[in-house]
């Protein structure tokens, strides 16, 4: 029985560490975004990008989520995503894009140890994410979900 306890303990410890990290990231960023929103800054950014976001079937506000994902991390993007009113289809498209391209400053460096140059992996992930978002939205439209 003792063999099972060890991995469970490690898993629990890792969960708590990750959850604490989430609190430290998601709470301040969500608050900051809420304040920006209050003063109309988010609206201005969203308005500017909304034509581009329309290709992904997303509202202009999704720009903030994508930028947070690319340059900060997955969890910062998640924190803002949860405050937005999105359909299940829109969340799926956003999730695919975030899943492919997140935390570039850190992960491209980690990946460079495999011999993959940092700019190559950054651009590869950026374009893959954008392409995947476009494609998925098109499929949704074709299937009739959009």
């Amino acid at each position: 029985m003792s063999s099972i306890i060890e991995p469970v303990k490690t898993g629990l410890l890792k969960s708590f560490r990750l959850l604490w990290l989430l609190v430290k990231i998601i709470v301040p960023i969500s608050c900051l975004v809420a304040v920006f929103d209050y003063y109309g800054i988010i609206g201005a950014v969203a308005g500017f990008f909304s034509p581009a976001m329309a290709y992904f079937g997303l509202p202009g506000e999704a720009t903030i989520v994508l930028l947070l994902s690319f340059f900060v991390n997955f969890y910062a993007a998640l924190g803002v995503l949860t405050t937005m009113a999105l359909s299940s289809q829109q969340i799926t498209v956003l999730a695919v894009m975030i899943g492919i391209c997140h935390e570039l400053p850190m992960e491209t460096v980690v990946c460079s140890y495999t011999g993959l140059p940092i700019p190559v992996s950054a651009l590869l992930r950026l374009f893959t994410a954008l392409g995947a978002g476009l494609l998925l939205n098109m499929i949704y439209i074709l299937v009739g979900g959009g």
Binding site: P7, G11, K14, A34, A95, I100, Y113, T114, S121, T128
Partner: protein, 151 residues
């Protein structure tokens, strides 16, 4: 004063959301640890030979590839560095694993967290895995083509 209320409200909401994530995250991370403890990956590496052949990668690539896919890019990279020191994998293979993992890593954790908030997990997993396979295959042809030109 309105702003202060807004901040408090947002902080409370986001804590609630993190609580929601915790409900899913804790069991998943425990399962991942159990899988690592019982060396599940070693057991499935033999079964993905077909997929590796398609990606033109050697059998030795299975472990870092699956490790990164399931457990995250940091572990994947650690395995990759370890393997490259041992000399099991060629430079080209290492780079291909890097490309694959940069698009598709820690797929269970990411997918489950988004599923909590209403994303479709099947589409999420499918799109990332299929894209990673296609792009790695294209990159393999491209790298081989470059290498052929040099010689």
């Amino acid at each position: 004063m309105e702003v202060v209320t807004l901040i408090v409200q947002t902080a409370a909401d986001s804590l609630l959301n993190i609580g929601k994530i915790a409900l899913y995250l804790i069991p998943i991370l425990i399962l991942i640890e159990l899988a690592r403890y019982y060396r599940i990956i070693e057991k499935i590496t033999a079964r993905i030979k077909g997929a590796l052949d398609f990606l033109t990668l050697p059998q030795e690539a299975a472990f870092p590839l699956l490790g990164g896919m399931f457990f995250g890019i940091v572990l994947g990279s650690a395995l990759i560095i370890d393997y490259s020191r041992e000399g099991y994998l060629k430079k080209r293979d290492l780079m291909l694993i890097g490309i694959f993992l940069s698009i598709s890593h820690s797929i269970f954790e990411d997918t489950f967290i988004f599923a909590v908030f209403g994303a479709n997990p099947v589409i999420l997993l499918g799109v990332r895995t299929i894209l990673a396979i296609i792009i790695t295959r294209v990159a393999a042809s491209f790298l081989d083509c470059l290498a052929a030109k040099k010689t």
